[in-house]
Symmetry: D3
Subunit: 240 residues, 6 copies
């Protein structure tokens, strides 16, 4: 039975053993992204310091890359414009879910490495690395690196688009390559927008279309946040 | 008298003499961007060819850079993630306004060099380089490089944002640095969206806010398209 | 019960779903390397061609990288001298196990991405990517890209070293960092050497020590080749 | 009426609004160069310091680039050997007109961006950026960054050459491309040489020719210095 | 009379005047490598420091490059994977011959520039730069930069290989390009191994072959160490 | 007895064995530059072709680099602005001495590697590489790569300068670092100028000074051309 137009692909977010403080593998259909969150106790130089010379807040940044074997035609290594743009998006999205002032002096780098690419890698990277980030922050707190819990609430993302005039949720590669409009939405648990990035790939879209797409995206993200919460609960238990 | 929150800055788009086929200087308040459109009769290799080996369509691409003197603290030369992201946005926006099939074998590069930066440089670059592009395509047609007119209709862009809870049109640098939400909108003359890029710089925003911002952007873009049309008319006359 | 000095770590080589023609995850203790083999039907230019302009043989090359989350202190992306050296070693080793003349015009790139690093990543990469390579060559033959089977026989690798005067098989990171001598050995199923790379990290070693280490390495490689063969058998069955 | 062989092209040097401390647009025929002078209060590390750790003198450096639209065939961005050589020349020339010891701790970067190129861009860049530099130094003095006036006297430059055996002043691109000898001369107001760079593009030249060219260059530079002085006077008045 | 298979090429190591503290030209047949050892009193940052903030030991590193004219087809400048691998080997080899703790705070860089390449350039570079290094350390001691003599004992290297089934000592380029096995051996004066790097270029080799090659290499290195000692003696006398 | 102000340093130009077609070592006092001329039968793409698709003329280019051991403080490898500028000068100078139309399809690269630097390296590079170039062209003619002799006549270079008000010929490093004016002159055997590059390092210079310096340079170049001719004669004999 084919997927309905308002249905997410099968999504799992699982712990994956690496050396990073937080580390999960997110799978959405045939898209697989390894998300690790590494902790360092040295924040960037530009962060302002208080009177004692201590940084006033922490920082969260992201890197995004596609492994060569992630695409049928081997993908060359190395950063291009697209990946730079994506990792800036991921970083901004994650920072919207934490209170940086509650993690002074702590720097977390979330690395999103696409192991298998079938559309929606940037939104899967945001959804997955949120879980890795929270797990890493828990570790940082347990280890005494920070005192308070900087987490504000979940951040998840999904792509929606219009194919042959019909809105679709969660585009895989075959859908994405046929889409007239492609909209990536990042939201929090209060159904507020963190990022809205819509692009007309061919046909410009009117306001009515935009409204339909935003509706569909909201539905998908509510479901993704449930999956994030379930994984975070499991990770807590396995640790205890 | 200070600018109202729903008022554009003073905008002019004027011809500026360079060696490029199309060349204008757009001024929006203290923001100044030199937009040139250079023509080449060699399109990228990846464009499919017909049975006679001729490229099936043309191409439009953009580059964006800030000159060192454009900011009070001298800006170092060289491409960074931000400018890569911006020039991809400009290129997509311009391509949405032309029918590439009506300009086979023609490649146009729109260079947007920021001479003076006071916020809104990427949207000014889109609005200005659209005029340079149309002018260059006219030249290409006069010179017999293309037979048909590939122009579909105007493309213009503006930024809107929320400052202290109030929506504002056309953010200059002082406003932009205080904005909680920053939304760049690219539209055509039919009031259809080509790009919608909204970012919560701090506070996520709900659906109602998004609606207000889109309204405001639409108003600004209608006005910018009038300015584009006036300049294009003048350029045509001065040529004749 | 601690591992004996002449005992390998627990090793598994399993199929891992990516978009590449061959794709396995090799695990040796806490070391995990994703090995993918991607096929392209364009060989490097320097390969000589026959009278019809067809390349006389195929090519196998390798790339090696450590993901940022693979080490406790986040590893920066980007190629350094060490990884260049390692990927040259992997490429030479793999080529020793295939008859390039039996795969004319076929180029296979084996990408070895270290997901988790605990010593012995280069030898795990060789052992794992051999399996990915064979699997990819089977696919190429099924798809009609090549007619004959270019595989000569298994190639596997292991590291051995001297710690506190005692030879040890299969060094993990804690052992490796204490080793006086570090020897990487690549062998085939006939117990012939393909590469022998020994380095005195501190104390030079005499001939007797070298003999002991080569003995130990041979033992380990015989066992690794058994694991490779078991995985390849399973992959064949799951495909049928 | 065509230009005489001993006549400069029409030259103007005008204020152009950017964010830099000094900023002018120099126009010489169809050659247009935007020259900005940006001030920073951090000098290079190699400058020696006095007993209190303060730098003993200031520094002036230059960068030169051609914008893509400055040439009929679009010029690719990025530094090449030619532009490196030119910016070193500009920097040396400007430094010859100031007493660096009278501007301790002050670093000025003069950026010369060619908007339209029709020959003589490097000499126009020197002549124009001298005005931008003086204007920036005035600002620095007004702002209290330096106490004394570091300006020694005007520095200007012109190119001369031999075409079909006849010496010509101020080569535009059509002349330059036909020149057998190309000589760039940088002089001060005392008719002393700061730089003399002569190149035989084809035919070596004897001493007599060199003498004629130096004579012609001197005449041109005297006229350019008058234009510089007039612009600087106007800038002072508009400020007051 | 052709060279015997167990005979070195004619080898000379001579002083060559440069500005470096140690500087020799090693000639092995038609292979010529200029080896210079430059002294700096600033060691890398990662070296641990004692309680007074002084570095606990010194460092020796190497760079290797082939000059463009060193090969019949001009060799392009710039580092590639091969040269990176070689300079890492040279650095490790040289460090095995000195006690870094006896040269605290001293950094020596050995530059090996191949002036003429006819096989065996990496082993000639090791053998030659050892002499340059020792000479530079003598100078450092004379100049009071270090108090003790950090030299442990000679380090030299040679390549051996199998051509048409026969082991050969000291491969020149024609031999090297025909070799089935290529083994580079670095040894000290006690006949202990520092590096053993064997590669099957085509045909894997068994244990018996490896033993023969190691034997042959040992013979060659004993002779090279004699030449090193003779040159070092001469250098000492000429200084006195 | 110290050198007189109008006297060259001791200069020798000797054959030095490398793999390049032409190869000499020029020594001027403590300055030593290895100059090799490598031949390739593929000229740059931009060279126009005749009706049969054959390139209409040949090309001569140069590269310049300082080896790390050439300066007392080790010089880092890699191209900087200075070396780019110098290699452009060398290339232009050498091309002025050959008729490129008499060497169609032939490309010669002259590599100037400074082994020991004590001032005047760029002028020594020109003088030395001229000899290497002529020798390489002789070889090319003997090998039948070109039919005619493209050599027009000798090209040599020297630096002159003003120290404490006195003109000096052939500046070594101690003189150069004290010079108020530094003038590099490239001339041919007819005493015609190919390049004149004068720079006021501190004090601008008047016409009279320039005349004195040109006189002195001419004297030095006449002597250098004699040395070039003597070496070329010797090289011809040793070949016969």
């Amino acid at each position: 039975m084919p997927r309905r137009t308002n249905q997410l692909r099968d999504v799992t977010i699982e712990s994956f053993p690496t050396a990073a403080a937080g580390s999960v593998l997110i799978t959405a259909g045939q898209t697989r992204v390894l998300c690790t969150a590494s902790i360092a106790s040295q924040t960037p130089r530009w962060i302002p310091t208080d009177d004692d010379g201590n940084p006033e807040h922490g920082w969260v940044t992201a890197e995004y890359a596609m492994l060569p074997g992630s695409t049928p035609d081997r993908k060359r290594r190395g950063n291009d414009g697209r990946s730079t743009e994506i990792q800036r998006l991921i970083g901004r999205s994650l920072r919207a879910g934490v209170d940086l002032k509650r993690m002074p002096g702590l720097a977390v780098t979330c690395d999103c490495d696409v192991l298998s690419a079938d559309g929606g890698t940037r939104t899967a990277a945001i959804t997955g690395s949120w879980v890795a980030l929270v797990h890493a922050l828990r570790t940082a707190r347990t280890d005494g690196l920070i005192k308070a819990n900087p987490v504000i609430g979940p951040v998840a993302a999904v792509s929606v688009g219009i194919i042959d005039g019909t809105p679709h949720l969660d585009l895989d590669y075959p859908l994405d390559s046929r889409a007239d409009v492609d909209l990536n939405v990042v939201m929090n648990h209060k159904e507020e927008y963190i990022e809205v990035q819509g692009t007309a790939e061919g046909t410009p879209f009117d306001r009515k279309r935009l409204d339909q797409l935003l509706e569909l995206a909201g539905k998908g993200i509510r479901s993704l946040i449930k999956t994030q919460r379930a994984t975070l609960k499991k990770l807590k238990q396995s640790k205890a």
